[in-house]
Amino acid sequence: MELTVTVNGRAHRGDVEPRLLLVQFLRDELGLTGTKIGCDTSSCGACTVLLDGESVKSCTLLAVQADGHDLTTIEGLAAGGVMTPVQAAFHEDHGLQCGFCTAGMVIAATSLVAEGLAGDEDAVRRGLEGNLCRCTGYHNIVRAVLDAAGTS
């Protein structure tokens, strides 16, 4: 089935099997491997991308469901090499350890901050409930999101 999606500002056309998952389309067809496959069961959040600006889990979305939509992956955040406030705050606050969850965390946090739902620590912790950090590095992640949102 044919689909057209905008990924990180660029239009892409594809001819895919309907059962192709969005995360496979991004990683295998477009080579955007910043988006990780973690649990593959929509629990861990490593595969989180933005669909029309909102966080979604790309392991539990068919590529054809994204037809006509606007997608942003971790590769699309830093325009011209300048990190976004969320990325800069993760860097500044050391909001990562092994780094495997980081792309999903940064994307989920980007959505949360954009929606104005990162008002305090409790809101941030609840807002990141769909993302697991197997290093348990949550303290610095939460700190980074609060800094990025200007609510720390």
Partner: protein, 273 residues
């Protein structure tokens, strides 16, 4: 994990969805947000040969007031339900529970119609339907049917919707912005409820509903009767597991679930009053 092959059809109208269902019968499954269906398909527990994507049927999204009811379109997403000021004002318990489903990513995709039609006794929103005696409205080749919530949920992943019918809306009584509490016990933040309890004060008393205490969402009638007879919260909540048939799985024994139900109901009642 990759689903088995299927044919994918996208429709823009409810009429279009019904036409596809009429053509493909029980070979077809409707796809809205996909938060329940796609995981089942990836595990190959569901193997539909035709997937009818209804996510873009705009006529079925959004909430409105009609008389003394809040009418919620089947394709209203949990995220929108949770943040909609109208829903918060007219049926606060629905908005609150919608904000407890899954996690933000799931709430950005999942819909009330999908969640209700899935019929999972461990999911959150069906508890609101049974607590408030909501009405599920379906359309099909034999016309429109209105089904009261208790009669809608028949068992584990089993509802009163026929293969050729489409869930179009859920009608809730306007219960107001306050006087409720919902809480669930789970091991990790976004897990399914091992047990969930909902308490809601309505005009004629207090309603109590349970999540994952049987093969379908349940009303804790014993608790409601005790409260109506003037019992204290703890005495009423002691009856929370009466008539329930809690499942046994790796998370909890039936006995532990019964204990959780009594504790959660007591806490929910205290918070709701």
């Amino acid at each position: 994990m990759i689903p088995a092959p299927f044919e994918y059809v996208r429709v823009e109208t409810a009429e279009g969805a019904l036409a596809e269902l009429a053509e493909h019968g029980d070979e077809a499954k409707l796809l809205a947000g996909g938060m329940s269906l796609l995981p089942l398909m990836k595990l190959r527990l569901a193997v539909p040969s035709v997937l009818v994507d209804v996510a873009r049927v705009r006529e079925l999204a959004g909430a409105r007031v009609e008389g003394d009811e809040l009418v919620v379109g089947a394709l209203t997403r949990h995220h929108d339900l949770h943040h909609d000021e109208l829903v918060r004002r007219e049926c606060g318990v629905l908005a609150a529970v919608a904000g407890e489903v899954g996690d933000p990513q799931v709430r950005h995709r999942g819909t009330i119609g999908g969640s209700v039609a899935h019929g999972d006794p461990a999911s959150d929103l069906p508890a609101v339907l049974v607590a408030l005696d909501a009405t599920v409205v379906v359309e099909g080749p034999r016309g429109r049917r209105e089904i009261a919530a208790p009669a809608f949920f028949l068992g584990f992943l089993e509802t009163a919707i026929e293969d050729d019918e489409l869930l179009v809306e859920v009608r809730f009584p306007r219960s107001g912005p306050a006087g409720f509490d919902f809480r669930k016990f789970r091991r990790r933040a976004q897990d399914w409820a091992i047990v969930g309890a909902l308490a809601a004060r309505v005009a004629d008393g207090t309603r109590v509903a349970l999540v994952n205490m049987g093969s379908a969402p349940l009303r804790a009638r014993g608790v409601e009767e005790a409260l109506a007879a003037g019992a204290e919260i703890d005495d009423a909540a002691a009856r929370a597991a009466e008539g329930a048939d809690p499942p046994s799985d790796l998370h909890a024994t039936p006995e532990f679930r019964a204990h959780l139900a009594r504790v959660l109901v007591a806490r929910a009642l205290a918070a709701a009053s």
